[in-house]
């Protein structure tokens, strides 16, 4: 106790402590590439796990991967950017439902593709800053008949980099769904739009 008060009485130490408080938090958060790569490595570890290979373990495997993707992706941001200017025409309940449905739709759509992973090498090459607080983390999947470039667009919020768009061979997920939903929203109000998504989800 006496030691501590003694320390704090020292002017130099007090000033140095202030400097520590000023260090930007991003310095310790890791770069965008490191963050995305770490998450991808976690998913790959689960995919390569021999104990999860049998069909009976499929549900457990999916659940574990989902817990990673939930931290990796910012589904709210993804949803907002997909609906773009239509976002405001949804009331908060509808917005929340859309986020939920959209997330489930994407999980459903890509679960099979991810689970079909058969040992391809994934290389993270570089990160390119986009305007604003966003960065594009570039990677490629090395398949037998060519490479597939997959870019993750991430945004820095609440001290962590999270993915808000995935661009595969130049095709942005957000852009693609945005154009689909725009077509529907031209003809239908938010409630029947949500019903279309619900129905699609049921049919899947």
């Amino acid at each position: 106790m006496k030691f501590l008060t003694g320390i704090m009485n020292n002017r130099i130490i007090r000033m140095t402590l202030m400097l520590w408080l000023a260090v930007p938090i991003t310095a310790f958060a890791g770069t965008a590439l490191e963050t995305v790569k770490a998450q991808a490595d976690n998913v790959l570890t689960i995919l390569k796990d021999p104990s999860l290979k049998p069909e009976t373990e499929r549900k457990a495997k999916t659940a574990r991967i989902r817990s990673i993707t939930e931290k990796m992706f910012d589904f709210t941001e993804l949803s907002k950017r997909t609906l773009a200017k239509s976002w405001d025409t949804f009331n908060p309940d509808q917005q929340n439902e859309f986020i939920r449905l959209y997330k489930s739709l994407l999980e459903d759509a890509y679960a099979d593709k991810i689970l079909a992973y058969s040992g391809e090498k994934i290389v993270f090459t570089k990160e390119v800053p986009l305007t604003g607080k966003a960065v594009e983390v570039q990677s490629k999947v090395l398949r037998k008949n060519g490479e597939i470039p997959i870019y993750y667009r991430v945004i820095f919020r609440d001290g962590v980099w999270r993915v808000y768009d995935v661009v595969i061979e130049g095709v942005s997920l957000v852009s693609n769904y945005r154009s689909q939903f725009r077509e529907i929203l031209i003809r239908k109000p938010p409630e029947s739009f949500l019903e279309t998504i619900r129905k699609k989800f049921r049919d899947n």
């Binding site: 320390i7 020292n10 130099i12 130490i13 140095t16 400097l19 520590w20 260090v23 930007p24 310095a27 770069t31 941001e77 907002k80 950017r81 609906l83 773009a84 200017k85 239509s86 976002w87 405001d88 994407l106 759509a109 890509y110 099979d112 593709k113 090459t125 570089k126 990160e127 390119v128 800053p129 986009l130 305007t131 604003g132 607080k133 966003a134 490629k140 037998k144 008949n145 060519g146 490479e147 470039p149 667009r153 945004i155 061979e169 130049g170 095709v171 942005s172 852009s175 693609n176 769904y177 945005r178 154009s179 689909q180 939903f181 077509e183 529907i184 279309t196 998504i197 699609k200 899947n204």
Partner: protein
């Protein structure tokens, strides 16, 4: 007394060191918020050529989407929308589709053709022929398209890419026995330098015109159709006379190529349909984005060792 002096010095030193470490990402972040041009990680040779400058200006369109989107992050409101800004960020992925009703009919027809004809054929084909054989065919057909890639790379003034593709053609045709093996890639690590005539037209600023869905051939546009015809004129088999290669054989070869190609991709179309809510619009949008990306890449000419 003495301990406190040591502690203070140590504390100061650690702080200074931490600041040195911390300043690096902070500088990077500062440069990032300052604008794209000031911080492009080097992937090219050190000397700046006109193609480098073109690339940097070409990256602007692709980030145009994000400019308008991320500009909203700066606004006090948390909602990510903004009236007219969103109309702009789709400019790059919009295409005129006046033939939409007709295109939809074609789209549905192609859908049926896939499930009723192409997929069963490809499945049976894949069952009968082992993968290395199908890869051999794929390589051979690819090699035949090499002249078109060389010419298009030249037209796009991508000299390094043209040169590399020319070397690939020579090596694969000879050592690779008529293109069966992609020796150039496997041994010399010279990858395929993709280029097509539709991309060349886009490189010089020609727009898509309108969206067209052809039966069998699938999504296309006015520009891409001209591109397809142009590429066909650069295809060696086009120049074999009618007596040596009758039209039925030509069509048979094209069909074989399509089935062979599909045999590697069975399931892709199905998962596409499962993932999307509106397949027609999704395919149209993917097509436009994909071709736009190809045109953006046409401004980049990397040297042999750096090709990605």
């Amino acid at each position: 007394m003495k301990f406190r002096q040591i502690f203070t010095t140590g504390f100061l030193a650690t702080t200074a060191f931490a600041y040195c470490l911390a300043s690096l990402p902070a500088v990077a972040l500062f440069a990032a918020t300052d604008g794209v041009d000031s911080f492009v990680p080097e992937t090219h040779t050190t000397s700046k050529t006109s193609s480098d400058i073109k690339e940097e200006s070409a990256t602007q369109p692709s980030q145009y989407e994000d400019i308008s989107e991320d500009a909203k992050d700066v606004k006090p409101s948390d909602i990510d929308n903004g009236s007219d800004e969103n109309d702009n960020d789709d400019e790059g992925t919009n295409i005129a589709d006046p033939l939409s009703p007709l295109n939809k009919v074609m789209f549905n027809m192609n859908d049926k053709l896939y499930f009723w004809l192409l997929k069963p054929a490809a499945k049976g084909y894949a069952y009968v022929l082992p993968e290395f054989v199908r890869v051999g065919f794929s390589n051979t057909y690819d090699n035949l398209k090499s002249p078109a890639r060389v010419i298009n790379n030249l037209l796009q003034l991508r000299l390094a890419a043209a040169g590399n593709e020319f070397i690939r053609f020579l090596i694969n045709s000879t050592c690779g026995i008529g293109g069966l093996e992609d020796i150039a890639k496997d041994v010399l690590e010279i990858k395929k330098q993709e280029a097509d005539f539709g991309q060349t037209l886009g490189h010089y600023g020609i727009g898509h015109g309108i969206y067209i869905v052809w039966p069998v051939l699938g999504p296309s546009s006015l520009r891409e159709t001209v591109g397809f015809v142009g590429d066909r004129l650069m295809y060696p088999l086009t120049y074999i006379s009618e007596s040596d290669l009758p039209i039925e054989a030509s069509i048979g070869i094209a069909a074989h190529e399509k089935v062979n190609d599909t045999s590697f991709r069975i399931g892709d179309y199905e998962s596409f349909k499962k993932a999307v809510v509106d397949p027609y619009t999704a395919m149209r949008d993917s097509f436009v984005q994909y071709r736009k990306n190809k045109v953006e890449q046409s401004y980049i000419d990397k040297n042999k060792h750096d090709f990605k």
